[in-house]
């Protein structure tokens, strides 16, 4: 069927290029014109990383069939700084530090540009509304809003252009100073290349076939149809692994692709490389895998019981790791207590939701070095593991860390780099894999869901005499970072408090859920959620102020932690003072709730979000001509 010829103006230049009828405007810009400043974060119009102007109107280019751009005037982020000088708004993003990982930033810059073009005096609430379709995972938006307000005021003349200049800095002083990010210009201009933006001559596109089963034996894999498909250059399964298969941050229990059985929905089973993405996906869909479903276990406590389905032969009890800590004598501590409080707490699975889905590019270079470019957060460890897996000496394996479009711990696992390496070795061609958002969610690690029981004994005056905690973390199907997470949880479980008697047991457990892995705070969050919630409950029962109960028990300079670490200085008391002051905390036991409290609302607290900044008197919207 006929390709389309798209004739349009892109950033002021006439282009006339062939396009496939199914392509979206985003694909046309990125793949056909190599304008990779517009990113794909979700492909479903949710994130705004792909925002561009079409005939002066901001739209999401992942939701626009390319045929709609016929004859249009298109402006992308690359068009904003055409002269080489950053636009006022881009400079403002640089000044306020609004770009962190940078992946959402081209879209953010476009949406902010649209807001200021629509209304040069756009107010803060309207800025939030107009940026509502763009998601940032790093900044918490505050710096982005500051940047838009700064640019607005420079552009409308309320501020001089000098407001965009770098702040004067005291010599040698960095803490507390506004230090400019070196990589910001490349991010605000869309020039920075993430792994999914990179191309090489003759590059193949990879697609991955994933398990629909949580637990199943793989009886057979028939890829003959895929192999025979025109355009397909290679198919790989675990059978292509030449060395000792297995990766993980602590225990190397995960094969590059499922070996013998699958252990979670979304696990990689086979992969195809083809000359184009569509062929790779079609070929993948044609692979026939015969599964024999096995009994699965989804509850970590059920997985710990005798007779539960076993995931890994090496761990017949489904235990990834148990960390016990014993200090003093908890039985005596409870006997000496005036109040004993026992509660249970749970936290849920959380997706990292970085804006950049996983992507990588692999090739075997002229010296036979297997090279993987990817936003890996742990390249040296990956290099060592891969060397063993592909049975090549370490000097023949190279990892290049591409800019990480958000990680938060979620890119520490070598979840796809092994497949890329195998495929590059097999096809002798550069191979690129770009996850879809759905693939990123289904296949990659999550925050460990946890269940904690916590028993605390205290004196009438609020001093903690004993802590007994048991935490069970659902590690999912593979080990990844679980061992470290449950260890960190145990180390930090009793909090920054001097407790004489401590009994802590944390467990990481295999289940047929999506694997859990590293995620900001690495186990501390789950333990602190229990301990800090518990202290509030204890304060209430003892009639103590929650800040006070913490001060009574806080570790001081020179304290020894319950894992015998000597702490030269402890800043906890100072942090408490600052938090108490900033929150305008009303002193007393936390027994009063609701409107009677004087410390709710006020400066520094946010009103609930609403819409309607564009309605002038509450009944009619301002017209475009009025705001323009």
């Amino acid at each position: 069927m006929p390709d389309l010829t798209i004739a349009a103006s892109v950033n002021g230049r006439r282009v006339s290029k062939s396009a496939k009828p199914h392509q979206r405007l985003l694909d046309f810009l990125r793949d056909n014109l190599n304008l990779t400043g517009s990113k794909e974060g979700c492909g479903a119009g949710e994130c705004g990383s792909c925002s561009v102007f079409v005939d002066g109107v901001l739209i999401k280019s992942c939701l626009v069939p390319v045929a709609k751009a016929q004859g249009a005037d298109i402006e992308t982020v690359e068009g904003l700084a055409r002269s080489g000088e950053l636009s006022v708004l881009q400079k403002a993003f640089h000044k306020t530090g609004a770009s962190q990982c940078g992946y959402c930033i081209p879209g953010m810059v476009m949406a902010a540009t649209a807001a200021i073009r629509a209304n040069p005096f756009v107010g803060n609430e309207e800025i939030k509304e107009r940026l509502g379709g763009n998601i940032c995972r790093c900044t918490g938006y505050q710096k982005i809003f500051e940047a838009v307000e700064l640019a607005r005021d420079v552009l409308n003349g309320r501020l001089a252009a000098t407001a965009l200049a770098e702040d004067e800095q005291e010599d040698g002083r960095f803490i507390g100073a506004n230090v400019r990010r070196l990589d910001a210009p490349s991010k605000v201009s869309g020039a920075l290349k993430y792994a999914g933006d990179m191309v090489m001559l003759g590059m193949l596109h990879m697609a991955v076939l994933r398990s629909p089963h949580a637990h199943a034996r793989i009886v057979s894999i028939d890829a003959s149809e895929a192999e025979a498909m025109p355009g397909v250059e290679g198919v790989i399964t675990c059978a292509d692994v030449p060395g000792e298969d297995g990766f993980g941050v602590y225990v190397h229990d995960q094969p590059i692709m499922a070996r013998g059985k699958v252990r979670y929905v979304g696990e990689a089973v086979a992969a195809v490389a083809a000359q184009d993405e569509v062929t790779a996906r079609r070929a993948c869909a044609s692979i026939k895998v015969h599964y024999e479903p096995l009994l699965a276990v989804f509850d970590p406590e059920a997985a710990m019981r005798p007779g539960a389905p076993v995931l890994h032969d090496y761990a017949p009890d489904n235990l990834t790791k148990h960390i016990p800590i014993r200090v003093g004598d908890v039985a005596q501590g409870f006997a000496d207590s005036d109040l004993i409080v026992e509660e249970s707490y749970s936290t849920q699975q959380v997706e990292h939701a970085y804006l950049e889905p996983e992507a990588g590019l692999a090739y075997v270079d002229h010296d036979g070095v297997v090279t993987i470019v990817s936003p890996s957060q742990n390249i040296t460890h990956h290099r060592h593991m891969l060397s063993r897996i592909i049975a090549r000496p370490i000097n023949k394996v190279r990892f290049i860390m591409s800019p990480v479009g958000g990680g938060f711990g979620g890119k520490e696992d070598m979840i796809y780099q092994g497949m890329l390496a195998l495929m590059a070795m097999k096809t002798r061609a550069p191979v690129r894999l770009v996850f879809t958002r759905e693939e990123s969610i289904i296949a990659t690690a999550k925050r460990h869901p946890s269940r904690t029981t916590l028993k605390m004994g205290l004196s009438r005056g609020g001093r903690i005499r004993a802590v007994e905690m048991k935490m069970i973390c659902d590690g999912g199907a593979y080990g990844l970072s679980t061992e470290g997470v449950v260890r960190k949880a145990a180390i930090l479980a009793a909090g920054p408090y001097a407790v004489p008697n401590v009994k802590i047991d944390t467990y990481g457990v295999y289940t047929n859920n999506t694997p859990s892995g590293a995620f900001r705070s690495f186990g501390a969050l789950q333990a602190q959620f229990a301990t800090e919630s518990h202290l509030d409950i204890c304060a209430e029962q003892l009639g103590l102020d929650p800040f006070e109960i913490r001060r009574i028990n806080a570790m001081r300079d020179g304290a020894t932690s319950h894992t015998k670490q000597r702490l030269k200085s402890v800043s906890y008391l100072r942090a408490l003072d600052v938090a108490e002051q900033a929150s305008r905390w009303e002193k007393g036991a936390p027994t009063a709730r609701g409107d009677v409290r004087g410390d709710l609302g006020g400066d520094g607290t946010r009103a609930p979000c609403a819409l309607g900044a564009r309605f002038d008197d509450g009944t009619t919207p301002k017209s475009q001509s009025e705001v323009a």
């Binding site: 009828p21 999401k60 379709g133 759905e438 017209s623």
Partner: protein
């Protein structure tokens, strides 16, 4: 991924019907495409191959709109954003700007069309209840013999179930016609997980006309979506309020009336609570915007709900 062999962009209604006839059984109609593209992804329809996509969004007749003091006619391919930024539309359809500002986000509203929103027939469609409250009819066109025949269907009868409409094979939704209600106070209430890009759990459109003193209901229009398979006009509640003085008691009673209609498949208890709250908030907001005498409703009630 949505795959197609051919993407057609007819320039006229005739060309569209030609294309539809030539590719009968092999095509899908798109307008804004903002629902079609996310539909063809993992977790929903997956990779979909549609031989021919016919894009009707550029047909001039589908983009026209006309407004007078009594009636409004909107081409089916009108982007949702026009309800927010076209002053003539906003004046004639007082609840629609409120609806538009909650609809997806500024960017998607520039692509997404009102016709697409209606034809998709999602039980949570944001655009439909407001138009139902405006007594909307849809105009459906079809090629018959050598010419084009048209029929009109009331919007609340056009949507027959989740994803189902009275659209017949070969028919296109070309326009929406509804009452112009300048001077009415309008409101649109919606609850979801966040401000932008959120699918309604419940949404409610309210229109209120008061007497000259701003103390009694002259007319009330209410429609609700998200609580059952199709959006619903609340005629009994309208009748209960019409010609009565505005009072807290009457509003509270009216707010209880549709609670029993909640027949959604999930979260019924929650939706019942929301419906009652929305009835109050929607009516109070509409009453205020209709120019109510400030003394007519207790401050505390307004503060609690509006």
């Amino acid at each position: 991924m949505l795959l197609c062999d051919e993407y057609l962009t007819p320039a006229t209604l005739d060309e569209a019907f030609d294309a539809m006839a030539r590719t009968a059984g092999r095509h899908r109609i798109v307008a804004g495409a903002t629902d079609t593209l996310p539909w063809a992804r993992e977790g929903r329809a997956g990779d979909v191959h549609v031989p021919v996509l016919i894009d009707v969004a550029k047909i001039p007749e589908l983009r026209e709109r006309s407004v007078d003091e009594r009636r409004v006619r909107i081409g089916a391919a009108t982007p949702i954003q026009r309800f927010l930024d076209d002053p003539a539309l906003a004046r004639a359809l007082p609840c629609m700007p409120r609806c538009a500002v909650w609809f997806a986000d500024d960017q998607i509203r520039e692509s997404a069309t009102i016709g697409g929103n209606i034809v998709n027939a999602s039980p949570a469609a944001d655009g439909t209840p407001g138009l139902i409250a405006h007594e909307a009819h849809v105009e459906l066109a079809k090629r018959q013999g050598g010419g084009i025949t048209r029929r009109r269907v009331k919007l609340d009868q056009f949507v027959t179930g989740p994803g189902r409409t009275a659209l017949e094979p070969g028919e296109l939704l070309v326009a929406i016609e509804c009452d112009a209600l300048p001077g009415y106070g309008g409101s649109f209430e919606k609850v979801g997980h966040r401000r932008s890009l959120v699918i309604s759990l419940v949404c409610l459109a309210a229109l209120v006309k008061l007497d000259a003193a701003g103390r009694a209901f002259e007319d009330v229009r209410l429609a609700i979506a998200g609580i059952g398979p199709v959006p619903k006009r609340l005629a009994d509640v309208e009748a209960f309020l019409r010609s009565h003085p505005v009072s807290a008691e009457r509003l509270e009673q009216a707010a209880d009336m549709p609670v029993e209609l909640v027949a959604s498949r999930t979260r019924q208890g929650y939706r019942r609570e929301v419906v009652r709250g929305f009835m109050l908030r929607g009516l109070i907001n509409a009453v205020q915007r209709a120019g109510a005498d400030p003394a007519v409703l207790p401050r505390a009630l307004e503060a609690a709900y509006a």
